[in-house]
Amino acid sequence: MSQTKEEILKLLFQHKETFISGQAICEQLGCSRTAVWKHITELRKEGYTIESVQKRGYKLLEAPKRLTKEEVLANLNSRYFGKVIDFHEVVPSTQKIAHHLAEDGATHGTLVLADEQAGGRGRLGRVWHSPKGTGIWMSLILKPDLTINRIPQLTLLAAVAIVRSIKKVSDVDCSIKWPNDILFEGKKLVGILTELQSEMENVRAVIIGMGINVNIEWADMPAEIRDIATSLKIITGKTQSRVMLIQTIMTELEKLYDLYLNEGFEVIKPMWETYALSIGKVIRARTMQGEVLQGVAKGINNDGVLLLEDDQGVVHHIYSADIEI
């Protein structure tokens, strides 16, 4: 899409309830009336219903259901997060693209967003089912001035931001399973995969990949995940706005990130604990080498490390494990 057309579409989204005159568009974008008319015609062909009334101008009545970056950008209230969007109809994985962009000097807060991921991946190469038009598949690039040991805390912070955004937009209360799985009644709703680009202790970029099951129907889920995954539509019975959710996540994440930079993890920790599923309960932590540690989850420490007290009263610091509840 041409730059001017993108800008016109953004303006139409911003003035969704009212008319915007052709003259106003020309002045804001510095183009001719003919150019505006030409782009409006093209947008109509692409499926946008745009009303035009003499002397009043243009009004966007309906946009195609698909996700567009113009709609996300139109009413985005953040300062950095998501202000630059690299949008794709279909990609192998937003995470991979974000890695390349970060290496090529993408700015702090750049968001890679896709309507469909053909090869969406979770951790350790696990497949993340991300079908067209039903979810939010995105990767946020951060260039934090933080030491490497603080970066894992960002994965907990991201989980808090998403839980709060889901509550705001869809009024659904979800929980966090340490460190950052987001569940609703025990079923997975959101997956977060955070990756780091670093040179030893020097952090170059952090890429937070987020996969959110928004409008996928139960029947459309692959059989193998039907019992363990859910979506906002399955939970609420209603189609949810992906655009609003993306916008809210960007502003929430940015707000918490600023708070974290100013006041440290100490202020994020109690928020995380509010949503944490396992605190005070007996859980099992399974390490990669198959060791299983059972005990009561006491909470997290100021690094975000899970504290697990076994029946001998010994508190173990869990840095890395799969939690079974």
């Binding site: 951790r123 350790l124 190469g125 696990r126 490497i148 040991n149 970066i151 894992p152 805390q153 960002l154 994965t155 907990l156 460190p179 950052n180 977060i192 995969l193 955070t194 990756e195 780091l196 680009q197 670093s198 040179e199 030893m200 202790e201 932590a285 390490t287 990669m288 080498q289 198959g290 060791e291 540690l293 975000g304 490390v305 173990h316 610091h317 869990i318 840095y319 890395s320 494990a321």
Partner: protein, 163 residues
């Protein structure tokens, strides 16, 4: 017998390294260097019982870590002194992954040739995945940790013979 210049150089080398104690015995002389307290240099003539060739320094011993609680890394003694060997260390506490996913091949193994930007492993903590690069061009001569093992901050993971 070592010349004064050679001794000086040796002291400098030991001083710059992480070695605490150094012992060198050849023919009728023995040199003992100790660090961190005070540098003691002793050269004594001793009857030679057996001829000890100058030994190449021992490889770093791997402190096995299977506990979840990290220990102070300073406690970990590093005996590697071969300056040609580059150590790839873990930049954080976490799980060491030798391969990108369970069914795939290891990123590298002993004998693998690597470039500075070759990924050699992944370290994960709290679902944060950090791909570790070799940082030097060369050959992996030793893999010091096992797949799935918990590693400490600063723990050596690989030895690379730099080209």
């Amino acid at each position: 017998m070592l010349k004064v210049e050679e001794l000086k150089e040796l002291i400098q080398l030991i001083d710059d390294s992480s070695i605490d104690e150094f012992e060198y015995e050849v023919e009728n002389s023995k040199v003992v260097l100790k660090k961190n307290k005070e540098v003691v240099v002793t050269t004594v003539a001793e009857p030679v019982v057996q001829h000890v060739a100058p030994q190449s320094p021992a490889q770093p011993t791997q402190v096995s870590q299977s506990t979840q609680k990290p220990v102070d890394n300073n406690a970990q003694e590093d005996l590697n002194t071969d300056s040609n060997l580059h150590k790839i260390e873990s930049p954080m506490v976490g799980t060491f992954y030798a391969k990108p996913s369970p069914e795939k091949e290891n990123f590298v193994k002993k004998g693998s040739k690597v470039d500075a930007d070759s990924v050699v492993c992944i370290i994960e903590a709290m679902k944060l995945f950090n791909e570790i690069e070799a940082d030097v061009k060369g050959e992996i001569v030793e893999v010091l940790v096992e797949d799935g093992q918990l590693v400490e901050y600063g723990q050596p993971l690989f030895l690379v013979k730099a080209e």
